[in-house]
């Protein structure tokens, strides 16, 4: 977060890669996907927990004349959202993240960068 001032005299291989536009783009891509997604599911989980903890009447509302409650549906909703985020992430990572990451890894290991 804050900038380092102690720049070593000799820059390492990894630092050169880190400064490269390819790596910066990869990093940006990763963070732009992963951080908002993490915030999303954590907030949704927290909303659920607070409702279950402090909104008993709302969570106890029956759906129709069954014994299924709003609380149960929201709880199951946590399962659904977890499965969905898992698959969305896996697809994104396989298609959008792996190809540039692999390309960069090969360049580093071949010493091309």
């Amino acid at each position: 977060m804050s900038d380092d001032t102690a720049v070593p005299v000799q820059e390492t291989e990894y630092q050169r890669v880190q400064r490269s536009p390819e790596f910066q783009e990869l990093r940006r891509r990763f963070r732009n996907f992963v951080f908002p997604m993490t915030a999303l599911f954590l907030v949704w989980y927290l909303v659920y927990v607070l409702l279950a903890d402090y909104a008993h009447d709302f969570m106890s509302i029956r759906v129709g004349d069954s014994t299924i409650t709003v609380g149960l549906l929201l709880g199951l909703g946590q399962f659904v959202s977890t499965f969905v985020i898992t698959m969305v992430y896996a697809r994104w990572a396989n298609k959008k993240f792996d190809p540039p990451a692999d390309a960069l890894r090969r360049e580093i290991e071949d010493g091309a960068l």
């Binding site: 102690a6 990894y14 954590l42 903890d53 969570m59 106890s60 069954s66 898992t86 990451a101």
Partner: protein
């Protein structure tokens, strides 16, 4: 809250009734132990290097490792503990399932792949990557041992309760012998099989457990015409007056504003704990690369999620068909809901099978925990801190094997103390320690450039110490008395001893934010020079996989 631990040893003396046929149960147990021993022996033939012993040669596929992760994660807490919590507390017990599952997203998105790319054997490899190695390794190893200790307590308590139910052994001495046998078996598996043997036992066990739970779930649903609403209605009717509380939130945690804070604390510990559990993190090293680590987490999330949906049905099924009062009065208490349901459905044979699966579950999880603790001690404390890296792989593995024996003995002793506590609840304590001591440092060292050694030590020791202090002075250890019977619900059974100071049963609500803050404070208070070159290496390696440890060839 009290209902969760209500069963604590109140009934042992009065209850002599056996459920099922001990001969059948022992025969099924014996068969399982024999089969898994063969697997372990076969797997052990390829154990040559430290790579093999700790990381199974990094040669497992994503699907295999995902199943093993599920096997590792779906412990006695998930099966016996959650079923019991839902059967007795209804909707409030469901929180365990949700928290334990959603937590995997933290591991999937933020930790699994980056960790696989930067470490070798243990969590400490990653934490000490760009910080001062020895102090950070030491702290990470201690945190690992602490989490493993709480986790082991829970599994051993589950083993004791299960066997109490099956063999009708209600005396503490008898159960202690059983715990000792479980411990001895587990030591044997890990000594002989290493990570490979342990992984195979976990895979076999995960498959058995999920099939077993699926069969029981279908059976329960069939009894109610596949109508969930009817199942809930039956549970409500069975509970009698006030039974509606089973499907509403607040039965266990809704009484006071303090108990609501307990719920919040538990919820926080559950969701943030998984990504800091050392035995889960170590599993990411058993696969060839980060992609396989990702695949294994995707597999694990599906298996674990589906299993937790089963536990919802099983918990309410037990409430409807067995009844909460019967469950609480059985030897083994709340933890016996699932086996009792099996007996109700399919008689002594299904009880024997399900119990053997539950027993296998405990054995496999205990083995996974033990190898993690052993690796942590041998690799982090012995090889890196004591010997300063001047030790051969063989010497390290020898120390790891000795550690296995020591930990096995400690687990046996601890397990004898923890008998009767709800295992899901005990595991939640391990989650709180993992989320406080490990997760902040993992996140900071992966993503925060400025983070330094001092921040890591403040956060890890702060997390550990605050957890130990809060748990020690909580009602879990002393001073919790059943208002009806006047008996102790705490670990210390003497009601005359009461040194509890805080009423929070799970420390997560305080310790997790505290550890995150301490990481920042410690970082800014230190004059340590930053190491941009180490951070560059870590960041580049974690995202691209360059220079990651490869699978070994056989």
């Amino acid at each position: 809250m009290s209902a969760l631990t209500l069963a604590a040893g109140l009934h042992a003396a009065a209850e002599t009734e056996k459920i099922g046929n001990p001969a059948v149960n022992i025969a099924i147990f014996g068969a399982f132990v024999a089969v898994t021993l063969v697997i372990v022996l076969r797997a052990s033939r390829q154990n040559k290097s430290a790579e093999d012993y700790y990381a199974g040669g990094r040669s497992f596929t994503g699907a295999q490792n995902g199943t093993a992760i599920a096997g590792d994660y779906l412990s006695a807490a998930s099966f016996l503990g959650i079923c019991g919590a839902i059967a007795v507390n209804g909707y409030d017990g469901f929180l365990y399932s949700i928290g334990f599952l959603v937590a995997w997203l933290v591991a999937l998105l933020l930790v699994a792949e980056l960790l696989r790319n930067t470490g070798r054997f243990t969590m400490a490899d990653v934490l000490s990557f760009r910080l001062k190695e020895r102090p950070v390794r030491m702290a990470a190893a201690l945190a690992t041992l602490l989490v493993v200790f709480f986790y082991l307590l829970a599994q051993m308590a589950g083993a004791g309760g299960l066997v109490a139910l099956l063999l009708g052994i209600s005396s503490t001495a008898g159960q202690s012998v059983v715990i000792a046998v479980v411990g001895a078996l587990m030591i044997l598996y890990v000594l002989v099989g290493g990570m490979k043997g342990t992984t195979w036992v976990q895979i076999v066990k995960a498959v058995l457990l999920i099939i077993g739970a699926a069969v029981m779930t279908a059976w329960v649903l069939a009894k109610f015409g596949f109508n969930i609403s009817d199942l809930f209605q039956a549970a409500i009717d069975r509970a009698g007056e006030g039974g509606e509380a089973l499907i509403e939130p607040g039965k266990a945690y809704g009484a006071t504003s303090l108990s609501k804070l307990n719920f919040l604390s538990l919820a926080l510990a559950l969701v943030l704990g998984t990504a800091g559990l050392p035995h889960v993190l170590m599993r990411f090293y058993t696969v060839p690369d980060a992609k396989a680590a990702r695949r294994s987490v995707v597999w694990a999330i599906w298996l674990i999620g589906i299993f937790y949906l089963f536990t919802l049905v099983l918990g309410y099924g037990a409430a409807a068909l067995v009844g909460a009062d019967t469950i609480k009065a059985a030897p083994g208490g709340v933890n016996s809901a699932a086996p009792l349901l099996a007996y109700e459905l399919g008689g002594e044979v299904l009880l024997g099978l399900i119990s053997a699966v539950a027993f296998a579950t405990i054995l496999a999880v205990v083995a996974g925990l033990t190898i993690t603790a052993a690796a942590s001690f041998a690799h982090d404390i012995y090889a890196s801190v004591i010997k300063k890296g001047q030790v051969s792989g063989d010497g390290e593995v020898r120390v790891a094997r000795i550690t296995v024996v020591v930990i096995g003995v400690l687990a046996i002793v601890g397990g004898i103390f923890a008998q009767g506590q709800n295992v899901a609840f005990l595991v939640a304590l391990a989650f709180a320690v993992a989320a406080s001591a490990n997760l902040p440092t993992i996140i900071y060292s992966l993503f925060w450039k400025r983070f330094n050694t001092s921040g890591a030590l403040w956060s890890m020791y702060g997390g550990m110490i605050s957890c130990i202090v809060l748990i020690t002075f909580s009602p879990v250890v002393s001073g919790k008395v059943d208002p009806v019977t006047g008996e102790s619900l705490s670990m210390i059974k003497d009601t005359g001893i009461d040194f509890h100071l805080i009423s929070l049963e799970n420390p997560g609500l305080i310790t997790i934010p505290l550890a995150f803050v301490l990481g920042v404070v410690g970082t800014y208070l230190s004059k340590e020079k930053p190491h941009p070159e180490k951070f560059a290496e870590m960041e580049v390696r974690s995202l691209t996989g360059a220079g990651a440890e490869k699978a070994t060839e056989h």
